[in-house]
Assembly symmetry: C2
Homo-oligomer: 244 residues x 2
């Protein structure tokens, strides 16, 4: 039976971290809200979010159905899927290391969201633009370097790896770091100008993920939704600046 991924149809958003893992592994999956027909499309996505439809209903998309199980939260879905689709470390201890890194990625993704929505998700960007400028300035100056130094350290000091973040072979964490870098480069091109020079191991990782055959095929396909200003990574030129 195919995995069913439930996520907003018009944006990469948090769902993209799951899509990349499913695509890289060649797993059989349905991107439910982007299909039409019975039990497909937005109505199916929204039905699954209704308290009452499932005893363990998810709080928000993305969520994944695997048979009777409904899993929520990106890092949780990836920790569940990883071993089944060959994208988690073999060693069980290392799986918890990988999950810890994935949750740090999730924290950074949350901060990316808040760079354009620092006051309220319920308000438009235009209604919190001034605050978004202040938050983005701090994000670019303090937070991008802090997170990226950390990830660079992990990749360059992974005792088992030759370019991977955790363990001896590629995992969903590497795919998520690729997506994080792609998103930051889209949203903040000026802030990321010197990225490759400052974080050479991350730059290598990014290119080696991009070159993976299934990923390359996916990125060139219509299944890869372009970055846009309804997702997590938004390019608002007024929020982007050089770090110094």
């Amino acid at each position: 039976v195919a995995y069913e991924l439930y996520y907003w149809p018009g944006l990469q958003g948090r769902g993209e971290f799951i899509r990349l893992a499913l695509e890289d592994s060649g797993a059989d999956y349905v991107d439910v809200a982007r299909r039409s027909g019975k039990d497909r499309g937005m109505p199916a996505l929204l039905r699954g979010l209704k308290n009452g439809s499932e005893p363990h209903s998810p709080f928000a998309p993305p969520y994944l159905k695997d048979g009777d199980w409904v899993l929520s939260q990106v890092a949780n879905i990836l920790m569940y899927l990883g071993p089944k689709i060959g994208l988690a470390p073999e060693d069980e201890g290392l799986r918890f290391i990988a999950n810890g890194v994935q949750l740090t990625i999730a924290d950074m993704v949350g901060e990316v969201h808040d760079s354009h929505h620092p006051i309220a998700s319920a308000l438009y960007y235009e209604d919190q633009k001034k605050e978004a400028k202040a938050r983005s300035a701090s994000f670019i100056k303090d937070r991008i370097p802090k997170f990226m130094r950390h990830f660079e350290h992990l990749v360059s000091h992974n005792p088992d790896g030759r370019g991977e973040t955790v363990g001896a072979s590629i995992s969903y964490v590497d795919l998520s770091l690729f997506q994080l870098m792609e998103g930051l480069a889209y949203a903040f091109p000026r802030a990321l100008k010197k990225f490759d020079a400052n974080y050479p191991h991350l730059a290598n990782l990014r290119e080696s993920v991009r070159a993976r055959p299934n990923i390359a095929r996916y990125l060139a396909s219509e299944r890869r939704i372009p970055f846009n200003e309804t997702g997590i990574f938004r390019h608002y030129p007024e929020l982007d600046q050089e770090p110094g």
Copy 2:
């Protein structure tokens, strides 16, 4: 060998979710930064955060050492510890359900933090007070009800439980929901005035966790640091208001 918990010594913060699980289970643990001596105290905490000291060094506290393993991120630590200390569901599928709920709790905790620090962690509250007021108003009006309706649904619809959130017996998720409610009641007493009437199952859960012998003993001990304005849950009266 005792578990070693590494967290800032003067506040509950995110470390408290781990402390509650360790205390409830009666597990042998050391709260490293609150002790003195060799490999104890703040120097030990800071050493573990330095890139370079560990191949898989954590991004931020709390982190937990179990023998050679260093685990980071609250939800990850709890997912690792839960089965070992008898605070996770027996069923493996339900463990992923529990982890999903714990990550939703973590999302809400992040929003609590940002209610007083919407612009930058690096700035003082006083320097982002106006923005904190706007963010808190939206948090109280929209976010607390959205999260709490969800958690209330989980507890009241848990097919295996009689008051628990996931599975047939108490888990770390229940302890974390207790802490979340305690923290919200401390930070936003006016916003939470009608909490018990609106969320009766959560109110019951809160009291039944409080009454657990090891928790009651812990809460009455000096090991429980009082809530204060350096933690995640801060009582700034100017940010608190009735929801309606």
